[in-house]
C-alpha cells in the first residue's frame, strides 16, 4: 500500500494563487536531457514527461524549493518567482 506523490501532496496546506503562475516553462523544449533533470529532481513530482516527450507541469503543488530554477532557468524554465504575498505552500511541520 503506497501513496502516490499526488496523494502525499494532498496532506499539505497550500494557498494556490489561481491568477498567477509563479513558474512558467517551455514544455516543448527540445533537449530531453534538460527535461529529465526536472522530471527526476522535483521533490513534488510536478514535471511529467508525456509520450511525445513534451513536459506537463502544474505549479499548484510546488514546494518552492527552487530546484528547477537552479537546474533549468534559461532552458526549460522561463520564469521562476516566489508566489505572491501569503500564497503558496505553508509548512505546518517543516
Amino acid at each position: 500500500m503506497s501513496l502516490s506523490i499526488e496523494e502525499k501532496l494532498s496532506v499539505n496546506k497550500f494557498f494556490v494563487d489561481e491568477e498567477n503562475a509563479h513558474i512558467e516553462i517551455d514544455p516543448a523544449y527540445p533537449d530531453l536531457k534538460e527535461k529529465m533533470k526536472l522530471v527526476n529532481a522535483c521533490p513534488a513530482g510536478l514535471y511529467k514527461l508525456n509520450d511525445d516527450e513534451t513536459l506537463s507541469f502544474d505549479y499548484a503543488g510546488c514546494l518552492e524549493c527552487g530546484t528547477c530554477r537552479i537546474l533549468c532557468l534559461g532552458t526549460v524554465v522561463k520564469k521562476w518567482e516566489y508566489p505572491e504575498d501569503t500564497k503558496g505552500v505553508e509548512f505546518r511541520y517543516g
Binding site: 502525499k8 499539505n12 533533470k37 529532481a41 521533490p43 509548512f91 505546518r92 511541520y93
Partner: protein
C-alpha cells in the same frame, strides 16, 4: 511611498534573520523583519537536528521555552544496499551535555517561536510580505521594495535562504550551481510518543538521529535521514543535483524505495503521513561562500552558503544562527562609527573568520570532492554488507578464515582504491 527610514531591514524570518533581528531589537535599534510566509517558519524545512551551541549563547536554556521536539541521545549511521543494512550506533550522555547537546526541531513551530521572540524584543516583524527587490544606488544597498512600496534603512541584512533571489538579482551573488546543492525531500509521519520511544529505545523527551548512505540515492551523492520528533518521525533524503538528470530513478522513486527498505519500513510502520516537503541544501561548503558584505548590506545563513554536509552530519542551522548574530554585531559596530560602508561592515567577515563558522567550513573544505565518488555509494556499502554476511551466516558449509573472507570482498573493490579513498576520507575530515 513611505519616507520612514529604519535602522536595519532584515529580509527573511528563518533562523538567520530572526536571530539578527532579535539581537538588534534587544539593543534598541529600529528593525524591520520581513518574511514572505504567513508566519516565521511557514516556508522552511530542515532534516531535523539543531546543534544548540550557537543559540544557547544568545538565549541561555532556550530549550526550556522553545518548541523543541527531542534532545538527541542516540546517533546511528547505516550503510545500505538494496536489501541489507550495516549500522553503527552511538549512545552517550555526553551527547546531551549543555552546550554539546542537539535537538530535533520542526521549523514550522521552531522558527515561528524565534520570529515571535524578535517581535517581543521590539522588532517590527511582518509576515505574508515578500521583498521584490533591493534598492541599489551606486552599488550601495539603500532599502527594499515590497509590492511597489519603498522602504529604506541604513543597512539591509539578507537572510533569505539558499536561493537568495534578491542577492542574485542585484548582482551581489552568482546563481547557485547544481553541483553546489542537493535537493531534499522529507515526509513527516505521525505516531504516538510511546511507540516512538519503544521503537528507538528512548525515554521521554530523548531523541534519535539516524543517517543512511548507499542504495537510497541510487548511486548519486547524497543520503537518507531520520529524526524522531515528540509525536512524529521526520524521514527524507538529500540528493546532489549535479548528475540527477542521468539517474534512472526520480527522487520520488528513491524516497519510496528508501521508506520501504526492510531496515526502514518498520521504523515508520502505521505512521500517518502529515506532510511532504522539499527544500534545497547548500552543500559545497567553503567553495560556495561568496559575497558576505558590501556597502549597506550583509548576507547571512544559507543565503551566504553557510552549510556543511559531511555525510554523517548536516549543519546549517547553527551556522545560520551564529552568522545572524555576527551580522547583528557588525551592524552595531557600524552604528558606533556611523558608517555603513563596506570598509566598516568588513568586520562581519573578520568575526566569521575568527569563529567556528569559517573555521569548520575550512576544515571540511575537501569533503565535497571526496564525496563525489560513486564507490562510496555503491561499492563500499556492498563490500561491508558482504563481509558482514560472511561473518554472521552459518549454513553448514565449512568455514573460511575471516581474513580471507574479508579480502575477497575488499579485492572486488580494489585494495588500492580502498586505501586511496580511505586516505582521502581521513584527510577531508
Amino acid at each position: 511611498m513611505s519616507e520612514e527610514k529604519f535602522d536595519v531591514i532584515v529580509v527573511g524570518g528563518g533562523l538567520a534573520g530572526s536571530t539578527a533581528a532579535y539581537i538588534l531589537a534587544e539593543q534598541g535599534l529600529e528593525v524591520l523583519l520581513i518574511e514572505r510566509g504567513n508566519y516565521g517558519g511557514s516556508k522552511n524545512m530542515t532534516g531535523g537536528r539543531l546543534y544548540s551551541h550557537s543559540l544557547e549563547k544568545i538565549i541561555p536554556n532556550f530549550a526550556e521555552e522553545a518548541p523543541v521536539e527531542r534532545r538527541v541521545v542516540k546517533e546511528a549511521v547505516t550503510m545500505m544496499t538494496e536489501n541489507d543494512a550495516v549500522t553503527f550506533n552511538f549512545r552517550s550522555p555526553r551527547l546531551a551535555e549543555t552546550g554539546s547537546d542537539s535537538y530535533v526541531v520542526l521549523r514550522g513551530e521552531f522558527d515561528r517561536w524565534l520570529f515571535d521572540k524578535a517581535e517581543e524584543e521590539g522588532a517590527i516583524a511582518t509576515s505574508g510580505i515578500k521583498v521584490d527587490e533591493l534598492i541599489v544606488e551606486n552599488k550601495k544597498v539603500k532599502g527594499v521594495i515590497c509590492g511597489g512600496e519603498e522602504m529604506l534603512a541604513d543597512v539591509v541584512i539578507l537572510a533569505d535562504g539558499v536561493n537568495s533571489l534578491l542577492a542574485e538579482k542585484a548582482g551581489l551573488r552568482p546563481r547557485v550551481k547544481p553541483s553546489q546543492v542537493a535537493v531534499g525531500a522529507k515526509e513527516v509521519y505521525e505516531l504516538p510518543s510511546k511507540v516512538i520511544e519503544d521503537r528507538f529505545g528512548l525515554e521521554e523527551n530523548e531523541g534519535a538521529a539516524w543517517l543512511f548512505a548507499g542504495s537510497p540515492t541510487n548511486g548519486l551523492v547524497g543520503g537518507g535521514f531520520l529524526y524522531t520528533n515528540k509525536q512524529s518521525i521526520s524521514i527524507g533524503m538529500v540528493v546532489n543535483l549535479e548528475r540527477i538528470g542521468e539517474s534512472d530513478k526520480t527522487i520520488e522513486d528513491m524516497m519510496n524505495e528508501f521508506t520501504k527498505h526492510p531496515e526502514v519500513a518498520p521504523l515508520i510502520k502505521d505512521g500517518k503521513l502529515v506532510e511532504r516537503s522539499g527544500h534545497v541544501v547548500p552543500e559545497a561548503g567553503l567553495s560556495m561562500v561568496s559575497t558576505l558584505y558590501g556597502d549597506g548590506f550583509l548576507i547571512c545563513g544559507d543565503a551566504a552558503g553557510f552549510c556543511l554536509n559531511i555525510g554523517y552530519m548536516v549543519r546549517g542551522m547553527d551556522f545560520a544562527i551564529a552568522s545572524g548574530e555576527m551580522a547583528a554585531k557588525a551592524v552595531l559596530k557600524a552604528r558606533e562609527k556611523e558608517d555603513f560602508s563596506s570598509a566598516t561592515l568588513k568586520i562581519y567577515k573578520d568575526m566569521l573568520d575568527e569563529s567556528f563558522v569559517m573555521k569548520d567550513l575550512s576544515l571540511y573544505k575537501k569533503f565535497p570532492s571526496f564525496m563525489d565518488n560513486p564507490r562510496i555509494f555503491n561499492e563500499y556499502p556492498e563490500m561491508l554488507s558482504n563481509i558482514m554476511a560472511d561473518m554472521f551466516i552459518v549454513n553448514g558449509n565449512h568455514g573460511i578464515p575471516l581474513r580471507k573472507k574479508a579480502m575477497k570482498h575488499i579485492k572486488s573493490v580494489g585494495l588500492l582504491n580502498l586505501v586511496k579513498d580511505g586516505l582521502r576520507g581521513v584527510k577531508s575530515i
